[in-house]
Amino acid sequence: MITTDAFSSFGRRLAATKGFPYVVIAETPNPIRQLDEQSLNQRALAMIDTVVFGLTQPPAAIERSIRDTAMQQIHPKGVVRAAKPV
């Protein structure tokens, strides 16, 4: 999954509802809509290693490496509502 950082947790939460809690997320700082083509290319290059990791590593290795982070993002402890989006 490729997201801006404002939506990483949310993206993982939604991916979990589809059965993919350990999706690898390549993120870039939000926002991006104002970026020109050169800037977008730079952002993409910065994320490429994460994308390659997600596409080449075995699922078990991915799960081991991001399990704790993923669980905290999907079910933040004690959070049932948040005025500042989680």
């Binding site: 949310f10 939460r13 939604l14 509802t17 049932v80 509502r81 948040a82 500042k84 989006p85 989680v86």
Partner: protein, 338 residues
Amino acid sequence: MAQPSISLENTSVADLMLDAYEGAYEQGWTDGLPIIPATAAAVNRFVAESGHEAAEVVAVLPPRRGEATVEVIAVNAVMAGCRPEYMPVIIAAVEAIADRNYPLEFIQVTTNPMTPFFLVNGPVRQHLDINYGAGCLGPGWRANATIGRAVRLILQNVGGALPGVYSKSSFGSPLRYAFICGENEEENPWTPFHVDRGFKKSDSTITAFKASNYCNISGGEGVGPEEILRQIATNMPPMYGGGDGVLLLLGVNHARSLHEAGLAKKDLQQKLWEFARVPEDHFAADFVVMERAAGRGDGRMLYRTQSPEHIHIVVAGGPGPQDVYIAGGRPQTRLIGR
């Protein structure tokens, strides 16, 4: 299936009710307002009134993909303050919003404040005292307030639309507490909405719309049909997130005037579609591109909807020169109590 529960003890009923509210709020089970404790006895009464088995799955609700069983619906209906006899209406409402052609997942997670709006037709309005006349969209009527609220609690507790967690709605909306009314079929000079959709007048139905706003339109009294419709049309411009359609709750005064002028519903749809056009150069360029791509522009003007058929006309409310425009579309209608 066992539901999560809280055990409470207190020597005072009043304090027990407060503890129930505090406990449910801590768990994230409320809309912020107090709830009626959903005891096993109360839930059983509601299930019995529904005419269904407790374990029957009515819908799976996004994004959390929780199962809205009849029992779960009953729990939320009790909490909302419903009467048991409201269960068939709530079940039909949940079926409607779970239709695959209804954009529920989008509504549940978007930054936009869109929400379901429910329209009730048929004899059930009298049976359950669902308001369709004066004040039908406001506070004061138990059926309207609690049926709408029950659905909101279901969307939150079963579907997972917790503010700031799954729901990213920037502002939320007061319409998300309860947004429902009946059609004033008794003062509708044309056919009721559910009859237009192929149901019998004697059927009781509920229709769910995707609703992006609420706008009261005042004025246009005694000025002729063209001016009434222009007044309405100028209050329903093209808007971001509202392109699916228009739901016009036509006030009874205007309904009578327009009918007496010889206009049929399709005439109102056509005229509103023509009048509710705005020059493209009024809008941001990105918006114009988007609307044109959606078939709502001709290179010079932006249209409110793709076609007149996407403007839905309903008669509701009490006397007075008022109408309500809702950026509402994607209607899904279900029979109540089938």
